[in-house]
Subunit: 441 residues, 2 copies
């Protein structure tokens, strides 16, 4: 393939025609698929197209709900957008299980978000820089006042501004760290605009600071941007019940053994990074599904959560389980979640709006609690399966069903396929081949 | 809201009706939205519904392409499914920029995937356990032979089996770690089925091991599951050119200063976890968009990448930049990517199939290279913006456009809104209010 010129300037129809001609073998099928995955209403499609660039269609993620999620006594029907089998099923099962055992208990520990102005300053006496930042702080904040007004009216704004000496790590490198309360907004645009405003003012002020030498006056901002690492925007959630109440026939073991295996599975995820990665991946299966459904940014949530998981120098599980001395099973999750329930895509994507309506238009803090509860529910469901029947049984059943749907297997074929694959690895090719042999008999 | 009973048993139509009645204020609008985001072809919608559970509609992620992505001399049009503004635009700009500077150079370092059988063994003399595993290894592998046949025919299979002593971390805790080559499949189902098979055999064999004591024979498998941490399924990608070739008028500075600021921005992300989180988040903006578009699992990719980012005990950037002694700018990314280009959703989701067709049906290794290149392109675009004009300028322009679309602003209103918000924070409320004042004048 050669260089394509002016692709972004083409109309959407022309983009599709070009790609179908050059890369998709001129296939009518491909063209039909691209078209059929477009939204039937042109105005809505235009809206979705404008979220991104060079769009030619939409990727559909199944949008489902988890009923009976009880958080702090309130019952929610949590929206989840996820393409992975069994995730919604496992969360639903766990939500129902804990519904009758007191539900999920969630607390927001803090809501602070973080912005960093990274700069170079060529002085040797840091006390001069400290004096400068201290003196100029009111003026720096004053410079961005117009940007902050609306946020302050909503009860948010800048929480603190602090100089951080990073010159031990990199010569002449310092940070201004600002913390923000952005209320119900995720606040990325707000934070970045404020940071860029403060940063320009900082450079300007340094240039005319009369106790700086010439080279000290040339303070150079490298970059100004929010940090997705927000350990102070944190939520805790737990479930708890007497060990004996854990019993269900389907566990296939007594409550004590189940509790012990469950606790050991969590302990393993605390000490072994290889297991912790997958353990936390399961938590994010639940978290991300609600994050996506509500129009939040899952990359930000993932990056922050995993960094938090290694804050003590080793990558560990975000959740923990124990059996207390008085015989209670306790399972908890602590996770930073910088979410918004207003602004950004939450207000623009029609399905995100529906998702938030399903949750009763929650505040950002309420959303943090709900999302964390789904994360813990997901984690509970996964570990429960792992330490009892194993996860493959349910997984493969669903995967097999997907493949049979795709191959349009008839009911009688479905029975035979299910029997055949009872002790075999399910794959698209294997099912197709087996169906082939059935059909040629 | 009270407990909902039997929700999963309802037909899809009934689920929607129930939710609209109970939670969406009986709104016809909400019902129309849920319906309109369904796929117009019922069979296709059924297929998508069966990926997940309790589905009521689809979440549309805009599906766009990045043209002119040159990887190892081949030019690709990379599919990206992402809802965030500017991501596709930035990747496209970076792809084009590097197209004329030699493109991206990518190498797959390894393709091994990992599975863990976590178990408890009550012995004190580990040499007995070592002997047992060594002796039984051929039989353990033999027990899962039927599961592996097809994978071996494709050139993959089990690469190694190793006993790991974890009893220093948790009393009596050991692992069997298996490594796999799953060829072009992501291989999660394959790995999990094999692990569960080996684990049952392990327990059975221990029970009859004649040099084990009674309690040693009671080897207890806690869980068997793949590890999403795959540091040996790794790809490296870099771009490189003489520093002076970096120059473009739009940088607003000379090539040397740009290169130095760029390198410093990367150095900062190496030493500061707060910055590293956001730096890597930007890389995953690109990576995840291709991962989603090709039907791969972004939670797995995220969890693995971030764990890899803290492998030395501090969370750090995954990419690095330097200026070499002979005046060349070098920018590289090293990231584990356990991807599949066959099987799972890649074969089932019609849009994932199109995505892979756009890439010319790549092997898993080719896909790893392409995805890594998009990650590096994304990272380049973000850092370039950050160290030159800042990111807010482009971001806010796009965000403002989205909001004006939503509010159906006319061209003459658009001009006035753009002017007004030149030095103000853009939010949906603020734009709506300002448009309101314009419209009432």
């Amino acid at each position: 393939m050669k260089e394509i010129k002016g692709f972004s300037k083409l109309a959407k129809r022309e983009k599709i025609d070009f790609l179908v001609r050059e890369l998709l073998d001129n296939s009518c099928d491909a063209k039909d698929i691209l078209d059929s995955f477009g939204h039937r209403d042109q105005k809505t499609q235009k809206l979705i197209d404008d979220f991104s660039e060079n769009t030619i269609s939409n990727f559909h993620i199944p949008f489902g709900v988890v009923p009976n999620l009880k958080v702090n006594g309130n019952v929610f029907c949590a929206p989840m957008a996820i393409e992975e089998s069994s995730v919604v099923a496992a969360a639903s099962k766990a939500a129902k299980y804990w519904f009758s055992r007191g539900g999920f208990h969630a607390d927001v520990v803090g809501v602070l978000k973080v912005g960093q102005i990274h700069f170079k300053w060529l002085g040797r006496d840091i006390s001069k820089l400290q004096r400068f930042v201290k003196e100029r702080e009111p003026y720096l904040l004053d410079a961005v006042k117009p940007l902050i007004q609306r946020m302050e009216q909503r009860g948010g704004g800048i929480h603190s501004l602090e100089l951080v000496d990073k010159s031990d790590d990199i010569e002449n490198y310092y940070q201004l760290v600002l913390k923000f309360d952005t209320r119900d907004a995720m606040g990325a645009n707000f934070i970045n605009s404020v940071l860029e405003g403060v940063a320009s003012e900082l450079q300007r002020d340094a240039k005319v600071c009369d106790y700086f030498t010439k080279s000290e006056q040339e303070l150079m901002v490298v970059m100004s941007i929010l940090s997705n690492y927000t350990p102070e925007c944190l939520v805790k959630v737990h479930v708890e019940c007497p060990v004996e109440d854990l019993y269900e026939h389907s566990l296939g073991m007594c409550a004590e053994i189940f509790a012990n295996k469950f606790v050991m599975a969590c302990d393993i995820a605390r000490v072994d990074p290889g297991r912790a990665t997958t353990h936390n991946k399961g938590i994010f299966n639940g978290i991300d599904a609600v994050v996506v459904a509500t129009g939040n940014d899952f990359r930000a949530i993932e990056a922050c959560g995993h960094t938090y998981a290694c804050r003590d120098g080793q990558y560990r599980s975000l959740s923990n389980a124990k059996v207390t001395r008085d015989g209670r099973f306790h399972f908890e999750l602590e996770v930073p979640l910088a979410l918004g329930s207003i602004g950004g895509l939450t207000a623009l994507h029609p399905m995100a709006k529906i998702a938030l309506e399903l949750l009763g238009q929650p505040s950002a803090e309420q959303l943090m609690k709900i999302v964390a509860a789904v994360g813990l529910a997901q984690n509970f469901g996964a570990i429960r399966s792992l330490v009892t029947s194993g996860i493959q049984k349910g997984h493969m059943k669903m995967h097999l069903m997907n493949i049979m749907n795709q191959l349009e297997a008839q009911p009688i074929e479905q029975d035979m396929v299910q029997q055949h694959f009872d002790d075999r690895i399910v794959s698209f090719g294997a099912v197709r081949d087996y169906l082939g042999t059935l059909r040629t008999v």
